[in-house]
Amino acid sequence: MILKILRTGFLLLFLAGSSPIIAEEDPKTQLKSTIDAILDTLRNKKLATDERQKKITDLINDRFDFAKMSQQTLAINWKKASKEQKNKFIELFAKSLQSSYMGRLEAYTNETVEFTKEKIKNKKAKINTLIITKTIEIPINYKLHNKNNKWLIYDVVIEEVSLIRSYRSSYQNIVKKEGIEGLLTKMEKKLAGAS
């Protein structure tokens, strides 16, 4: 009898001890917390503009895997690039994605975001969301992968259009004509012009 209680006790202890590992946050919860935080920040009228931007940039940096995105965008040109070029590209690409993603979310600050579907397999996940506007629904799907127990976005697919794919082919065209240096110069100019 005592043995049984002890055994149950051990079992319970064991379960309790392991539960934090089981309760590791799923990709949807992690993604949702980021999107909600960004939208909250956008809606927060009390924040000064640069303060708000800083906060959102931090939130985006925390959830996007820009290194992986850069690698996939440059694709075959990635291995041809030098280490400095790679780092430069990651920096510039991250900046340009931050501003476009922020700009798009900003346009839809007051709409609701609905999480429709999620698929997880091993270390990858695809989460489908819909932005519900007054007239239409805009499907935005996120592709995430798990890196050190954290789910990071490595592609955003809006209306079937993958950001990575679109950038990849236009960047490839530029690299073909002007080389990686040419691409970096163009990106730098664009960013300088935009801000």
């Binding site: 996939q72 075959i76 397999k121 990849r168 664009k190």
Partner: protein
């Protein structure tokens, strides 16, 4: 707004449309390229089910990443010209008009959009059927009855709001795609925008069978179409500016995005 000024513009547009379509077809015949458009690549692993999908080739080793979307664009110089034209048309004509148009209270603009969209239900219904999407066809039929009767002739969209029936975008270009017809060369059609040979044909067929054309004929039809376009732009949140503003080469970005979007819709 006086639409009597539009007809010359419209016939010009028709002419241009015809020539660009013809030239594309001729081009395609002279030049029977191996399947033109999409080289399916890595990302597709996500689109299907997961069986063997999230394979590791995606993970650490990008060296063998397959080539990106390959688009057949033999008319690129002409297309770039048309893209430039449409871009200017957007920024100097449509957008300013749409901005002024925004003075009309939004609920009215939304109702106009709902009304015209409700009228075009048969296009979506028939195309859904032709693609074998019986559920979507039923969805469109349900929407039509609910919105026509409860939504006051389509001015409101109670089917979406209260029943959760959302509009399914279907057109003849998609139907052709589902039937296995390849997109063919990329085309930029003046006044219309990015397209390809298949979707251009689809656009002509959709226009010829457009129920709005039964209600309004000739000039009136195009007046309604122009109003619809301006109305849509007024409701839109500057998507075009966002896309083209960020891109290093807007032509390439739009071309790629368009082809991906259409391929995605056909495969849906």
């Amino acid at each position: 707004m006086n639409f009597n000024r539009y007809p010359p513009l419209i016939s010009l547009f028709g002419l241009l449309l015809c020539t660009s379509l013809f030239s594309a077809v001729i081009q395609a015949e002279n030049n029977p390229v191996d399947e033109p458009t999409l080289v399916e690549n890595d990302d597709d692993m996500f689109d299907d089910d997961f069986d063997d999908d999230f394979s590791d080739d995606f993970d650490d080793d990008f060296d063998d990443a397959p080539p990106p979307l390959v688009i057949h664009d033999p008319l690129e110089p002409l297309n770039r010209g048309m893209f430039w034209f449409n871009d200017k048309l957007y920024f100097y004509a449509l957008k300013p008009v749409a901005k002024t148009y925004r003075y009309i209270p939004e609920p009215i603009r939304i109702s106009l959009s709902n009304f015209l969209s409700n009228l075009t239900t048969p296009i979506r219904f028939v195309n859904a059927l032709m693609q074998g999407k019986v559920n979507d066809a039923g969805n469109e039929m349900g929407r039509f009855f609910i919105n026509t009767i409860v939504g006051v002739g389509g001015l409101f969209d109670p089917a979406r709001k209260y029943v959760g029936l959302r509009k399914k975008e279907e057109d003849f270009g998609q139907t052709l795609g589902v039937l296995g017809i390849k997109p063919g060369p990329y085309l930029v059609i003046p006044f219309v925008g990015p397209s390809n040979t298949r979707d251009g044909v689809g656009y002509v067929v959709d226009t010829l069978t457009d129920p709005i054309g039964i209600v309004w004929q000739g000039r009136d039809y195009w007046a309604v179409k122009v109003t619809d376009t301006v109305n849509q732009i007024s409701l839109d949140k500057d998507t075009y500016e966002a896309i083209t503003g960020d891109a290093l080469d807007p032509y390439l970005f739009v071309r790629d995005a368009y082809m991906q979007n259409r391929a995605g819709k056909v495969n849906k």
